[in-house]
């Protein structure tokens, strides 16, 4: 049965592995030159002395805004779990029905339950492997590119799902989703397309849900950092402002601008003007150290979804073959 699973899916495994490898080669190629500078940056922020920061001070400005299109390249990484769902999950059952080979496979000495369980376990192992490889790669890329100050894995909707502990769960979820879609639709090509569309919807849904994983922290916004703090890059997630007038009523930054005219809306002068009037201006944000908590939350949601969808699929196929 293990041999059968490998024999039937090896091409799809290799295809997805090839895409992952091609992406890896490209990303490693463009990221390797950033490894040295990143090390200088880390030395600076770790030791936090003028001497340690000297080399970094000289070069940091060169990298600001460098390859600011990189997030789009990184977005490609999020196609990978989609490919796993479309090429591994969707055909698993759909192709058997489409070709009529389920009548061969399910009339051998092995029950459908066992047939599906073994296949899903094999695909799940491959998904965890692929997802982990993607996570390691993308985390390394994000670590070495944040010195361009546009890479922020916490507030970037797409990068968030491409790094850390989320990818293995996302791959697993995608494979489970594809398998379930294949059981319902039973045409390989259609099932693949629907899997990709459904996964996109789930990711969009997660993006809407993500800000609510934790109540944002607030702080009085600080403008213009001094000294070495200027170089310190924090990957925190800024979620906008909480502005109140002197009566404590929440107002928009447009209304704030009306109260404190000639200002641009939410900058230092508005802050001081509002506070001077007895109002309040706070910035809402998720501190960088909450990143892991957010990632595990998303991971948990995806794993719960995987178990639910996988369980329904197994139950349905075990009960009936038609």
């Amino acid at each position: 049965m293990l041999w059968l699973a490998w024999r039937q899916h090896r091409l799809q495994f290799l295809a997805v592995a090839a895409v992952l490898a091609a992406l890896a080669v490209y990303l490693i190629h463009i990221t390797l030159p950033m490894v040295g500078p990143t090390r200088l940056y880390q030395t600076c922020v770790t030791l936090d002395t003028d001497a340690a920061c000297e080399p970094w001070n000289e070069i940091w400005s060169r990298f600001v805004g460098e390859r600011s299109d990189l997030t789009q390249v990184i977005a490609l990484a999020n196609v990978l779990p989609g490919l796993a769902g479309a090429f591994w999950g969707a055909p698993l059952i759909a192709r058997e029905f489409e070709r009529g080979t389920h009548r061969l496979a399910w009339t051998q000495g092995v029950t459908r339950l066992r047939w599906l369980t073994v296949k899903l376990v094999v695909l799940a192992c491959a998904a965890v492997l692929g997802g982990t490889a993607q996570a390691v790669l993308m985390t390394w890329v994000a670590d070495n590119w944040r010195i361009n100050q546009t890479i922020n894995r916490f507030n970037d909707r797409i990068l968030f799902d491409a790094v850390g502990v989320v990818p293995p769960a996302l791959w697993l979820f995608s494979v489970a989703l594809g398998t379930a879609v294949g059981l319902v639709i039973r045409r390989t090509t259609a099932a693949m397309a629907v899997t990709l569309a459904a996964l996109a919807l789930v990711l969009i849904g997660l993006n809407f849900a993500r800000p609510h994983y934790a109540t944002p922290a607030t702080r009085v916004p600080v403008y213009g950092q001094e000294g070495r703090d200027m170089y310190r890059i924090t990957e925190e997630w800024r979620q906008g402002y909480l502005i109140r007038d002197r009566d404590g009523k929440a107002i928009s930054s447009w209304e704030a601008n009306a109260l404190c005219p000639a200002m641009t809306g939410a900058d230092e002068a508005v802050r001081d003007c509002l506070i001077g009037q007895g109002g309040q201006m706070l910035e809402r944000y998720q501190p960088a150290d909450r990143f892991a908590r957010f990632q595990w939350t998303e991971n948990g949601i995806l794993l719960a979804g995987t178990v639910l969808i996988g369980g329904l699929t197994i139950g349905r196929l075990r009960r009936r073959a038609d």
């Binding site: 070709r99 009548r103 061969l104 399910w106 051998q108 000495g109 459908r112």
Partner: protein, 298 residues
């Protein structure tokens, strides 16, 4: 007495609004070679799929050697070859054999090797590149090498040429006769089944119309021809009547002779018998319980 190889009780299957099988009750004793015949859409495939565990009945029950189809004991005793002889096209013949060997507890390695060699099927060729006849033969080999007690074949002769059909039937029967395997095979081509099958099941519009030992059925029916203007006595059980010119032809059940010398009586062939019943789907000629219950053994 051992349990029936295949038994259905009031088996029904509905696809949306269409009944593919309706209240189908059938018993097949072990060792029988059953011809399952009927027009397209009569429910032959549905019945075989139900026995193979590939579909869930809407109502009624189906058992193979008293086990529920699709459960481990049933899977290990039943082999099924679907109508389109499905194989994984990208697998070589050797890989298909390896797959089936791995998926079945019982596997006659020598039988599979011998059969494939005798048929000169190249083991290294991908299934998708075999001829239709060779694909069928590979599918049958996978089924018989499992050494099933019940072999279900859906239209096994469909994509074989006439010569291959005869060879196939003879060879198949040789393979299964040695093991006492029960065979249920469906076909439109009734003439191909003569001489190999010993039990007839006629399915029509999702219902069992005839189920009986072929020799007994043939012995119990005959054809009567006579003047179309005459009426047959009421004691004769007419199943169908067709007219050609001034002659009327009847398929009748029972052996009651007609005294009138203008009537001639002759034995019927299997095809004639089946067609006679199929022409009259609601016939009162539906065989009674006497024909559907059978004595054990074959």
């Amino acid at each position: 007495m051992s349990s029936p190889a295949l038994q259905t009780q009031l088996l029904s299957k509905r696809y949306r609004r269409v009944w593919a099988l309706r209240d189908c009750s059938l018993t097949v004793a072990p060792g029988r070679v059953v011809a399952l015949v009927g027009p397209n859409g009569a429910g032959k495939t549905t019945l075989l799929h139900a026995a193979a565990g590939l579909l869930t009945p809407t109502s009624g029950t189906v058992r193979v050697f008293a086990e529920v189809p699709g459960t481990p004991p049933a899977l290990s005793t039943v082999a099924f070859v679907a109508q389109d002889k499905p194989l994984y096209d990208s697998f070589t013949v050797a890989q298909l054999v390896r797959m089936a060997r791995g998926l079945n507890r019982q596997w006659d390695r020598a039988l599979a090797a011998r059969r494939l060699a005798a048929l000169e099927i190249p083991l290294r060729r991908r299934a998708g590149r075999l001829s239709g006849g060779q694909q069928s033969q590979v599918a049958f080999t996978l089924a018989v090498a499992k050494r099933p007690r019940l072999l279900l074949l859906d239209e096994p002769l469909a994509n074989l040429d006439p010569l291959a059909r005869t060879d196939f039937m003879r060879e198949l029967m040789g393979t299964v006769a040695a093991n006492g395997t029960t065979v249920v095979l469906s076909s439109h081509a009734i003439s191909d089944l003569v001489g190999t099958c010993d039990w007839l099941v006629v399915l029509n519009r999702g219902q069992v119309q005839v189920s009986g030992d072929i020799d007994e059925l043939l012995g119990a029916h005959h054809a009567l021809s006579g003047p179309a203007a005459d009426r047959l006595p009421d004691t004769v059980a007419v199943i169908t009547r067709t007219e050609s010119g001034r002659q009327a032809h009847h398929l009748v059940r029972g052996t009651a002779p007609v005294a009138d010398p203008r009537w001639t009586s002759r034995p019927v062939g299997l095809e004639e018998l089946v067609l006679g019943y199929l022409r009259e789907p609601d016939a009162a000629a539906l065989p009674g319980p006497a024909l559907t219950t059978i004595e054990g053994g074959g």
